[in-house]
């Protein structure tokens, strides 16, 4: 078992609770022991980075400090945006001693443990796409996916900027495909899998966001996908919930079910509905899974 500090972030705590329950249920089967963090807050989701960048750095330093205090080497995320925000702040602190000193002085004065810079921020995707996690995944996914055609959707902030993410080629990523195949699914290929779902501006510039969102939905269906899978709950929210607005705007029917990564692997690993919580989705994935008796 690999002990990791588990940072669930905002969405998995509230509107995407199904991501949290499926991650918690899946973790021990892929060799991960999750240490929950009590005193952490939102990472700022790129919004605080934009509005008040100095506060963003301190807020993320605080999360990193509490993760370090658990004794774990890894802070595991389940959201692209959290991953980028935390990794970026971590590199800022690790690469500049005087900045780290200043931030630590501030953390100390409000009663937060100091951060030495020893934590690595990694997404669940990376934990199970290679190494021990991948080996355990192959055993855990004993029920398989019976050739289910799965469209991988990466989203932006797990791939770019590659100098901060650095796990795989941002133009030719492979991790989701490898996991889909290890689970017995068939990975569908389509160009928009590395593009933006529009979520960051879906409230402030809905029309522009919808012009982005339609691409992966349309292309995945054209390529024959039964379902889509994404490592990001924000992408999930736009792809699943805003799909009904796409349908209203275009007069077309898409009905593309979108699964969280932990849910897709969870299906192959035989998790219960009480853990997967598919009824929380706007587009119900169960008919597509039932059709193939997955």
């Amino acid at each position: 078992m690999k002990r990791v500090a588990y940072y669930k972030g905002c969405l998995a705590s509230l509107s995407a609770k199904e991501l949290d329950t499926s991650t918690q249920a899946l973790a021990p089967r892929v060799g991960l022991e999750l240490v929950e963090l009590e005193s952490v807050t939102c990472c700022g989701a790129g919004d605080i980075h934009e509005a008040e960048p100095d506060y963003y750095l301190h807020l993320n330093a605080r999360i990193l400090a509490y993760a370090e205090a658990t004794g774990c080497d890894t802070l595991m995320t389940v959201c692209n945006v959290c991953t980028l925000n935390l990794r970026q702040a971590n590199f800022m602190l690790q690469g500049d001693e005087s900045l780290l000193d200043r931030v630590n002085e501030n953390l100390k004065s409000v009663g937060v443990p100091v951060y030495t810079g020893s934590v690595e921020v990694r997404h669940l995707l990376w934990e199970i796409a290679e190494g021990d996690g991948y080996e355990q995944l192959k055993t855990a996914a004993h029920k398989g996916l019976k050739g289910l055609k799965v469209a991988p959707f990466y989203g932006c902030q797990i791939l770019r900027p590659s100098k901060i993410m650095g796990f795989e080629d941002p133009d030719r990523p492979w991790s989701l495909e490898r996991i889909i195949e290890a689970c017995g699914g068939e990975a569908i290929d389509y160009p928009a899998k590395i593009k933006c779902c529009g979520f960051p501006i879906i409230q402030a510039r809905e029309e522009t966001a919808m012009g982005e969102l339609i691409q992966p939905v349309e292309q995945a269906l054209e390529a024959g996908a039964d379902v889509m899978v994404t490592p990001c709950p924000l992408c999930h929210l736009s792809l699943d919930a805003w799909q009904q607005k796409l349908e209203a705007a275009t007069g077309r029917s898409f009905k593309l079910p979108v699964l969280h990564l932990a849910q897709l692997v969870g299906v192959a690993a035989g998790l219960e509905e009480s853990e997967l919580k598919f009824k929380r989705h706007i587009v119900d994935p169960r008919p597509a899974l039932d059709r193939l008796q997955v």
Binding site: S39, G44, D54, R172
Partner: protein, 358 residues
């Protein structure tokens, strides 16, 4: 070395498009631009592309290789040839194609000019009548943005501009920060007002393609974040994007976590939110929205609140908060570790190729 490549040829007069394969003999140190020169000299004199300095200064030779915008003069072909790959070369995206690899840069320059890319007079002139001198430290604030060579590689890949061609885009906005961040410029407020318009700062979708593709390390997305920080610091925050960003700050101070349900009215206003009621009710039906009861509050959230007050008092406001991290981030290099990809070069999964979409 033998270099093979496929080039998208295009004739605007006839609208004809064709993918042609070329194979040439090139020296091992050849760049993509050198290879195109050889094709033009020895194989097909009708091939059209832009070039000038051949040393990453002029910004003329932006184009796409395997779907990704590059400067042809910066792209060495040795590894590609050694792997036996046959890359697809095409014109940049988000700009109309004139012929083959040449795009019409007029829309690009129009947005560039709209930013008023020159110092606006009105700053305090030194009393001794000599030149206005500023410290290195203050100039460092715009160091990255000043590196831009206007090649268009960022614009080519911008996902927001693909959806809304009127979006000012990464190049223009990065140029905007180059002047907003310059202490000699006297039009900061006017600029921030203008750049906060419908197609400005808050239309950026944060896809980070611009940072990934920029051949000069400008990191346009970071420049847009700096503009956002300066706009909010200056109180130019009427845009829904600014309100959205400020709600995250408020949320972390009060409950620690994003107060999701209130985000829509806080961003769009109450009237607009009521229009979203049908959509919202469907979300509530699936437990995707609604008020958490008891409220979801992080332990020791007062620490976050006190941290915010503390750092605000320390005065690294606005873009200064971004700039303090640049020294550390500059040590990182773009790329990825090798060895993880189980599929090998050229095999599944396929790269994002224009031939798949056009």
């Amino acid at each position: 070395m033998q270099v093979a490549m496929k080039i998208w040829r295009y004739d605007a007069a006839t609208g004809e498009r064709a993918l042609r394969e070329y194979e040439i003999d090139a020296p091992e140190e050849a760049t993509l631009l050198d290879c195109l020169d050889i094709v033009k000299d020895k194989v097909d004199g009708t091939l059209a592309y832009r070039k000038s300095c051949r040393m990453m200064i002029c910004g003329s030779c932006g184009m796409r290789m395997d779907g990704a915008a590059v400067l042809a003069c910066k792209t060495r072909m040795f590894d590609v040839a050694k792997e036996g790959r046959v890359p697809v070369i095409s014109a940049m995206g988000n700009l109309p194609i004139v012929r083959d690899l040449v795009v019409d840069m007029d829309p690009f320059w129009e947005k560039f000019k709209a930013m008023k890319p020159y110092l606006q007079p009105g700053y305090d002139r030194p009393e001794d009548g000599r030149e206005y001198r500023i410290t290195q430290e203050r100039m460092n604030a715009v160091k990255k943005e000043a590196l831009c060579i206007n090649c268009g590689c960022c614009v080519s890949e911008c996902n927001a501009m693909e959806s809304d061609p009127e979006f000012l885009g990464p190049q223009a906005l990065a140029k905007g920060f180059r002047f907003v961040g310059d202490p000699r410029d006297a039009a900061t407020v006017e600029r921030l007002e203008q750049y906060s318009g419908e197609h400005g700062i808050w239309e950026c979708t944060r896809c980070f393609f611009c940072n990934e593709r920029c051949p000069k390390g400008v990191d346009p997305r970071d420049a847009i974040a700096k503009l956002g920080a300066e706009a909010i610091r200056t109180g130019i925050d009427r845009d829904m994007g600014a309100k959205h960003a400020k709600w995250f700050v408020r949320s972390t101070e009060t409950t620690g976590w994003l107060r999701e349900t209130e985000l829509v009215p806080k961003t769009q206003g109450v009237v607009s939110s009521i229009k979203q009621m049908k959509f919202a009710l469907n979300l509530i039906k699936h437990n995707k929205a609604g008020l958490a009861f008891p409220p979801h509050v992080a332990a020791n959230v007062d620490e976050a609140r006190r941290l915010r007050r503390l750092v605000l008092a320390q005065g690294r406001l606005g873009s200064a908060g971004h700039i303090q991290g640049e020294r550390a981030l500059a040590k990182l290099e773009h790329g990825h570790h090798d060895g993880g990809d189980p599929y090998g070069p050229g095999s599944f999964p396929k790269p994002y190729l224009p031939e798949d979409t056009e």
